[in-house]
C-alpha cells in the first residue's frame, strides 16, 4: 500500500504554511497544557496556600514525597492499584482471549460488547454503582448472605483492610474488557501455521500458549500495560466518589492527594509537586514499557 512507500521518507514538500495550520491547535494546547505544567513545576518549589505570597522552599515538597508517611502511603496504594488495574486484567484477559481465539464460541460479538461496556460508562456512574454493591446492605453482602457466608459480610468501603482491595476490584472490572479485546485482536493475527508447527512438535495446549501465543502478542501486552498502569496511577474519580481516601487514609492515592492538598488543605505547593512527580512517573513508565515492546505497536 501507499502507506509503506510514504512512511520511509518524510511526507510532503517543505511548506511554511504548515505553521498556520498548526497555530490554532498549538495555541490552545500551549495555553492550557504546556504553560500550566510549567507553572506546576514553578509552584511546586514554593510553600503556598493559594492566597498569600508563597515562600520559596526549593525541593522540599519533593523531599516530602519520600519522607512524609502519608504521601509515601499514597504512592504505595497506587502500586497496589497497579496490581488490580494492570496485572489482574492482564492475567484474566490472556485467559479469556486465548479461549475466545481458540474455541469457535457462539455469541463472540455479544461477549465483546458486554466486556468492553465498562470502558464507556462515566467513572462517576461506575463508582456510584459499586458503592451500592459494597454498601453494608448492598448487593455483595446480599449475595454472600444467600450463599450462607454471612460471616464474611461487612461494610467493604469502610473497612481498613478491605477498602483498598475493594477499590482495586473496581479497576479490575473496568480494565479487563479492554485488555481482553486488545489481546484478542492480537491473537487473531497469529498465523495458523505457527500452531500447526507447534502441534507437530508435540506441544500441548499449555506449551503452545507459552511458546506461540504469548510471544506473538508482546506488542499488545505492552499497550495493555501502558493503558492500565496509567489508569491505575491516575485513579481519581473512583476514589473521590467511593471513599474520599478513607477510612483514615487507607485509600488515599496521588491524584486524590493533589486535589485534597490544593483545595482542601491549602498546600498548593505540595499538590503541584505530587502532580509533577506523577507526570514524570507516567512518562517514564510509558516510555519504558514501549521500549521494551519494540516497534510492533505502530
Amino acid at each position: 500500500m501507499t502507506q509503506r512507500m510514504t512512511a520511509a521518507r518524510p511526507p510532503g514538500e517543505p511548506r511554511r504554511v504548515a505553521y498556520l495550520y498548526l497555530l490554532p491547535a498549538f495555541a490552545v494546547y500551549a495555553a492550557f497544557l504546556l504553560y500550566p505544567i510549567g507553572r506546576a513545576v514553578q509552584i511546586s518549589l514554593y510553600d503556598w496556600d493559594g492566597l498569600s505570597l508563597g515562600r520559596w522552599v526549593g525541593l522540599d515538597n519533593y523531599a516530602a514525597i519520600v519522607a512524609d508517611e502519608g504521601l509515601r502511603a499514597a504512592f504505595g496504594h497506587a502500586l497496589v492499584l497497579i496490581v488490580f488495574f494492570a496485572v489482574g486484567p492482564l492475567v484474566i484477559g490472556l485467559g479469556l482471549a486465548a479461549i475466545l481465539n481458540h474455541a469457535k464460541v457462539r455469541g463472540l460479538g455479544f461477549f465483546r460488547t458486554v466486556v468492553f461496556l465498562p470502558q464507556v460508562v462515566a467513572m462517576v456512574v461506575v463508582a456510584v454503582a459499586w458503592r451500592r454493591v459494597y454498601a453494608p446492605d448492598g448487593t455483595l453482602n446480599t449475595l454472600l448472605g444467600a450463599l450462607g457466608l454471612d460471616s464474611l459480610t461487612r461494610g467493604w468501603l469502610g473497612d481498613y483492610t478491605f477498602a483498598l482491595p475493594a477499590v482495586g476490584v473496581v479497576g479490575t472490572w473496568f480494565e479487563t474488557g479492554l485488555v481482553t479485546v486488545l489481546l484478542l485482536a492480537g491473537m487473531s493475527r497469529i498465523p495458523g501455521e505457527l500452531y500447526e508447527a507447534a502441534r507437530l512438535d508435540g506441544a500441548g495446549a499449555v506449551r503452545e500458549f507459552f511458546a506461540v501465543t504469548l510471544p506473538s502478542v508482546r506488542g499488545e501486552i505492552a499497550v495493555a500495560l501502558t493503558l492500565t498502569v496509567i489508569a491505575a496511577l491516575r485513579t481519581f474519580d473512583l476514589v473521590y466518589i467511593t471513599t474520599r481516601g478513607g477510612p483514615g487514609d487507607s485509600t488515599s492515592v496521588p491524584s486524590y492527594e493533589v486535589y485534597h492538598r490544593a483545595f482542601g488543605l491549602g498546600q498548593v505547593g505540595s499538590a503541584a509537586a505530587i502532580g509533577v512527580t506523577l507526570t514524570v512517573v507516567i512518562f517514564v513508565i510509558s516510555f519504558g514499557i514501549n521500549r521494551f515492546a519494540d516497534r510492533r505497536i505502530a
Binding site: 501507499t2 502507506q3 510514504t6 511526507p11 510532503g12 514538500e13 517543505p14 511548506r15 511554511r16 504548515a18 495550520y21 498548526l22 490554532p24 491547535a25 490552545v28 494546547y29 495555553a31 492550557f32 500550566p36 505544567i37 507553572r39 506546576a40 509552584i43 484474566i92 479469556l96 479461549i99 474455541a103 461477549f111 465483546r112 458486554v114 468492553f116 461496556l117 465498562p118 470502558q119 464507556v120 460508562v121 462515566a122 462517576v124 456512574v125 456510584v128 458503592r131 451500592r132 454493591v133 479492554l178 486488545l182 501502558t226 496509567i230 489508569a231 481519581f236 474519580d237 473521590y240 466518589i241 496521588p254 493533589v258 486535589y259 502532580g275 506523577l278 507516567i282 512518562f283 505497536i297
Partner: protein, 266 residues
C-alpha cells in the same frame, strides 16, 4: 478438535465473566426501575423524578453544550494540525510533534491545579471557558496524533494531482483529503465526546455555580446530598451514562478501534 467438556467449560468461564461485567450495571438498572424512595410506584417514573428533583435536566444541558463545543473545536483543530504534520515538512517538525505527544500522557491532575489559580487571577473561573478550553487542549493532543497518522497514510497521488491543478492547501484539505477521512474523523469525534462527557476532575475544580455543573459533577453532588434512598441516585446515574452508552451500541467499532490504538487519555 475441542472436546465437549472443554467446550462446556469455555462457555461457563465466559458466562461467569460476562455476569461479572454486567453485575454492577444490572445492580444500578434494577435499582433505578425499583420502588421509589418514598415507597411509591416503581418504574420509569423514577427517571422523571430524578430529572426534576436531581435537576439532571440542567446538568445534561450543560454537558451537551460543553461536549458539543469541545468536540467541534478540537476535531477541527486536530484535522488542521494533523494535516500539517502528516503531509508537510517544516522546521522544528519533530520537536513540535513530540511536544504534542507529551500532552497525550499528561495527567490532567497535574495541570488542573495551576490552571485553577491562573484562571482565578484572570477572573475566568466558574465560566463555560474554564470547563471547555482545558478539555480542548487535552483532546487536541490526541487528535493531532490521530489525524496525522491518517493523513500520512492517505493517498499522496491524489494530493499531487490536485496541487498540479492549482488547488490551494486549504482546498486540498477540505475537498480532497477530509471526505475520505470520514471513518477516522468519526472515531475521533466519538472518543472526544466520550472523554468530555465523562470528565469529572476539570468541572469539579473549575465550577462552583450549579448552572455550570456537568452531568457527572451533578451526579457526584446529588450523591452527597440525597440520602433518602438509592432509587433516585440510580435513576440519575442511568441518565448520566445513557448518552455515551447509546453511542457505543451504535458505533462500537469506532470506540474499540480508538481506545485500542494507543489512546492513553481517559
Amino acid at each position: 478438535m475441542i472436546s465437549r467438556g472443554e467446550r462446556v467449560a469455555n462457555y461457563v468461564i465466559l458466562s461467569v465473566f460476562a455476569a461479572f461485567a454486567l453485575f454492577p450495571i444490572v445492580t444500578i438498572l434494577s435499582a433505578a426501575l425499583g420502588p421509589a424512595d418514598s415507597g411509591g410506584t416503581a418504574g420509569l417514573g423514577n427517571f422523571a423524578a430524578a430529572w426534576e428533583v436531581g435537576r439532571f435536566g440542567t446538568y445534561l444541558r450543560t454537558s451537551l453544550l460543553v461536549s458539543a463545543f469541545v468536540v467541534v473545536v478540537s476535531v477541527l483543530l486536530s484535522i488542521m494540525s494533523g494535516y500539517a504534520f502528516g503531509t508537510m515538512r517544516f522546521r522544528g517538525q519533530s520537536v513540535l510533534f513530540y511536544l504534542f505527544m507529551l500532552g497525550i500522557m499528561m495527567p490532567s491532575e497535574a495541570v488542573a491545579v495551576p490552571l485553577y489559580f491562573d484562571l482565578r487571577t484572570l477572573g475566568l473561573i466558574d465560566t463555560f471557558w474554564s470547563v471547555a478550553l482545558p478539555q480542548v487542549a487535552l483532546s487536541v493532543a490526541f487528535g493531532t496524533f490521530w489525524m496525522r497518522a491518517y493523513f500520512r497514510a492517505s493517498n499522496r497521488a491524489i494530493v499531487e494531482a490536485a496541487r498540479i491543478d492549482g488547488a490551494s492547501t486549504w482546498r486540498i484539505l477540505w475537498q480532497v483529503l477530509v471526505p475520505p477521512a470520514r471513518p477516522a474523523v468519526v472515531t475521533l469525534t466519538v472518543l472526544v465526546f466520550m472523554w468530555t462527557w465523562n470528565e469529572f476532575l476539570i468541572p469539579l475544580i473549575m465550577v462552583t455555580s450549579e448552572s455550570l455543573r456537568t452531568a457527572p459533577l451533578g451526579l457526584a453532588f446529588f450523591q452527597g446530598q440525597y440520602t433518602s434512598g438509592f432509587t433516585l441516585l440510580a435513576a440519575g446515574s442511568v441518565i448520566v451514562a445513557t448518552p455515551v452508552v447509546v453511542f457505543y451500541l451504535f458505533l462500537q467499532r469506532h470506540f474499540v478501534r480508538g481506545l485500542l490504538q494507543g489512546a492513553v487519555r481517559e
